[in-house]
Amino acid sequence: MTDQEIFGKVKECLIDALGVEDDEVGPEATLVGDLGAESIDFLDIIFRLEKVFDMKIPRGDLFPEDILLGEGNIEDGKLTEKGLAQVREKLSSLDISKLEKNPRVSQISNLFTVKMIADYMKSKVG
């Protein structure tokens, strides 16, 4: 599958799950901030990706929300060093410098962009 095909399929899933317009789904668009996604949408997106790409996506793999639940990962609404280390490990392909500067929990969702999903699917499809 070419990169373009992968991106097209990801886009299709996001349009269906979030009810957004084709031209809103640029690579840099953030799911929460720009496309209005909320928690149920993350599940919906995973289900749709699984269907469209015909594969299983392990929970916590694409959107590692479980980092938020980990013991000692969060203090005062911010990620601790331990939490940040886990983000680095799980989302190794991402530039998390912004998050390092402002490790508020609410900033994590800004890491989730359309490109990030496309990159993840690329790594899976091979």
């Binding site: 928690s39 149920i40 919906d44 289900f47 749709r48």
Partner: protein, 245 residues
């Protein structure tokens, strides 16, 4: 026919309230699968089909829901109606009676809601209707397990409703008062006429009274109602003492 082409699952649909709900949905054109412990026997009305299953089993629920979706390509309506009573004072209640009621009445709703919701959000439509009871809010001695299960199902209803609202799926509950079915027979027999007179409407409810509200919640017009519990009790739960009134 207002539910043409729609597909519904009604748990505990072999008899009583569930059976009537299934019949009413089917009479509006829906294909209705009733899930129950044992085959009700006899021929079922047009559009209704029996599936044997125990709502306490998550694996069975998953299999039944997936089977229905595989066969029909859709699931529009889920009615979590299966319920039991095991009444006895808390001080004499065995833990097994507590578990059995919670697992059937509350656990059963969870078991079916989870796989059903998954298919419903994919199609961005669906109605989940849970059958509660006024026991969730008015005390009934000997019903600690039952009342807790019904208060639980109403709280569960509100939570799932919020979670699924962005996906076009509504989740509501119906809370019947005293309805003439086998379940309430003992209570009605014991209390005699005094109980009926305590009901402002001066009659017990019928399964039709409950089914009418479930149908309303399933119809297209109710798409903006979610997270609600509608009480169907002839006024029983708000009636105080009526000295000479």
């Amino acid at each position: 026919m207002r539910l043409e082409k729609q597909v519904a699952i009604v748990t505990g649909g072999a008899r009583g309230i569930g059976r009537k709900i299934a019949e009413v949905l089917a009479s509006e054109g829906a294909k209705v699968f009733i899930v129950d412990l044992a085959d009700p026997g006899g021929s079922l009305p047009q559009g209704m089909e029996f599936i044997e299953g125990d709502v306490r089993s998550p694996a069975a629920a998953e299999k039944i829901v997936t089977g229905v979706v595989d066969r029909c390509g859709r699931l529009d309506i889920l009615v979590n109606n299966a319920g039991i009573v095991r009444d006895t004072l808390t001080l004499s209640m065995e833990r097994s009676a507590w578990d059995e009621v919670i697992e059937t009445n509350l656990g059963g709703a969870f078991n079916f809601t989870k796989p059903a919701a998954r298919f419903m959000i994919a199609r961005k439509r669906g109605r989940i209707i849970n059958v509660s009871s006024i026991a969730s809010r008015v005390g009934g001695k000997g019903q600690g397990n039952y009342a807790a299960s019904k208060a639980g199902i109403e709280a569960f209803t509100r939570t799932v409703a919020l979670e699924l609202a962005p996906k076009g799926v509504t989740v509501n509950a119906v809370a019947p008062g005293l309805i003439e079915t086998e379940m309430s027979e003992r209570v009605r027999d014991m209390a005699g006429n005094a109980l009926r007179r305590a009901i402002p409407a001066r009659r017990y409810g019928s399964p039709e009274d409950v089914a009418a509200v479930v149908l309303f919640l399933a119809l297209p017009g109710a798409s903006y109602i979610t997270a609600q519990t509608i009480v169907v009790d002839g006024g029983l739960s708000v009636a105080g003492p009526r000295p000479g009134a």
